[in-house]
Assembly symmetry: C2
Homo-oligomer: 314 residues x 2
């Protein structure tokens, strides 16, 4: 018999790649997504046609709808989120309802339907806050500076007790900045579009010194796969990121070089942060994940090249 798994946010960037892998591995995927933003079921179509997946346009804020799904499953990959840090600061209540209430609902779904496993898309880029050690290990105190980061940290606080009280097995992947095909946001996407409109000038948010680690989607999905297969008991967290952080201005250099654009004039906003709630230095320590045998396969240069190639074709 096929094994069923449920993926929330399965129409999004990371979720849809994850589903490709799960289908490949023979899982039948129950997809939950509210199709907010500009998402659609387009990356799912083939799986739906081949009856390898089924789709519910449900919102995780509505627990009753989640409970009404008539299929059995024993694992959930919870990726549905309001994932825009800027927006979280502009609309705290909205972010709270999707990210904190939404994740609480997923845990309630597990408790009420006796579902054993949860793989949670946490955040390595926002939960530690600004003054974190570099690189930042998983047991570093959490001091988020954005509403989004608070929600991801709060969600983990509930994962901890649900795991302990109800015997659930939960792993949180504290994701860094993930990029690659199907992503329609982030600094590389922003640079690509700006340079397409005007190749002689590039407006960079912040002072250009924000330094963050980026991870290609394929390496990210590898980590999801490894940590799901690992079958951790109880609740555990892993930073999932590249080991090396890079300055925003160096990303700009790489993007312009790959695009073959010369003499671009950079302008900066001369603020430390790219936007309100932005953590200007992000470098999670990935030692714990590497000790399991995981290592990123795609260099930043190669990754950006493949991503820009995909962007140029869409």
């Amino acid at each position: 018999m096929e094994k069923n798994v449920l993926v929330t946010g399965g129409c999004g960037f990371i979720g849809s790649h994850l589903i490709d892998l799960l289908v490949d591995q023979g899982f039948f995927v129950i997809v939950v997504d509210n199709l907010s933003g500009n998402t659609s079921t387009k990356f799912l179509e083939q799986h739906l046609e081949e009856k390898k997946a089924t789709f519910y346009q449900y919102d995780i804020r509505n627990l009753e709808l989640l409970l009404s799904i008539p299929l059995e499953f024993d694992s959930i990959f919870h990726l549905a989120a309001q994932s825009d840090v800027k927006k979280s600061v502009e609309e705290p209540e909205f972010d709270f309802s999707v990210n904190t209430v939404g994740t609480f609902n997923i845990l309630e779904l597990m408790r009420k339907k006796d579902i054993q496993n949860l793989v949670f898309a946490g955040s390595g880029g926002t939960v530690y806050g600004e003054l974190a050690a570099s690189p930042t290990p998983e047991d570093y105190p959490l001091k988020p500076i954005s509403i989004y980061g608070s929600a991801k940290a709060a969600a983990e606080m509930y994962c901890s007790s649900y795991s302990s009280l109800y015997g659930l097995d939960i792993v949180s992947l504290r994701l860094g900045n993930i990029y690659g095909p199907r992503s329609k946001r982030g600094v590389m996407y922003d640079f690509y579009n700006k340079l397409k409109t005007n190749p002689s000038k590039l407006d960079i948010l912040g002072d250009g010194n924000q330094t963050k680690s980026y991870l290609y989607i394929e390496d990210t999905i590898d980590a999801f796969n490894m940590l799901y297969q690992l079958n951790t008991r109880g609740f555990d967290v892993y930073n999932v990121s590249s080991a090396k952080a890079i300055k925003v201005v160096d990303i700009a250099e790489t993007v312009t070089k790959i695009l073959g654009i010369k003499n671009v004039k950079y302008s900066f906003t001369n603020e430390k942060r790219g936007w309100e709630g932005d953590v200007s230095f992000v470098s999670p320590d990935v030692t714990k994940l590497k000790q399991l045998g995981w290592a990123p396969k795609i260099s930043l240069n190669k990754g950006i090249e493949m991503y820009l190639e995909w962007l140029s074709q869409t």
Copy 2:
């Protein structure tokens, strides 16, 4: 002009003692309490009569009601909570709505009404979880094992970002087990009532080896006062507890001795925890608070004596 402050949960055990102090210090106290459980305004009556306080029977789950309060104030003491760990495990959704949504509403109230200061009643007995270091310092990773503990930890995650984003000054008091007059729960209350009914036998929840630190209400209010006066910038947390943890069975010994009861037969449930979600070993490190000059004045023996005296008169 009198300075106004708002106290949520002001009709409860700790809240009502805090209000006595604030009124003494010349503050005009706006009290918010939904009078759930067995609470009433009885401890407030004198302050209301003397026009030193005003009372709103509002629920913190309703942000609109909180926003409708027509009075100005620049500080909030947020003590309203579903404070029963056992109940939190039986009714996670209820606990989430009061403790997590409720505290989020308090932060939204501050953001929307431009209120500068928050003193938050956090929890030192539940946020660190079971395997915590002993004594447990404030920067220890949070791993709650009850829904209540998760809510108190999640609330602090939001305090962190609200403070950073909106410039709010917030201090969280991670309270241990607080006891004293006006408290109608906890192990001492439980023992007193059981022994009153039957002085020859005492049923103790758990195996009697649960070890926790207890703090008398007067010393607790001292800590509230000191930390409010300190006027910390940003967000900070302090364990508020006694430095010494004591076994439940030793509490039983102390209570029976003070009551002058001899030859009590103890019976145990022979489980490690007193109830689901109970942390069996609680000993927060109070070095940080002591460095400010705070020290508990009431010994456990003296405190229990005063508490039992009060219980015998009610």
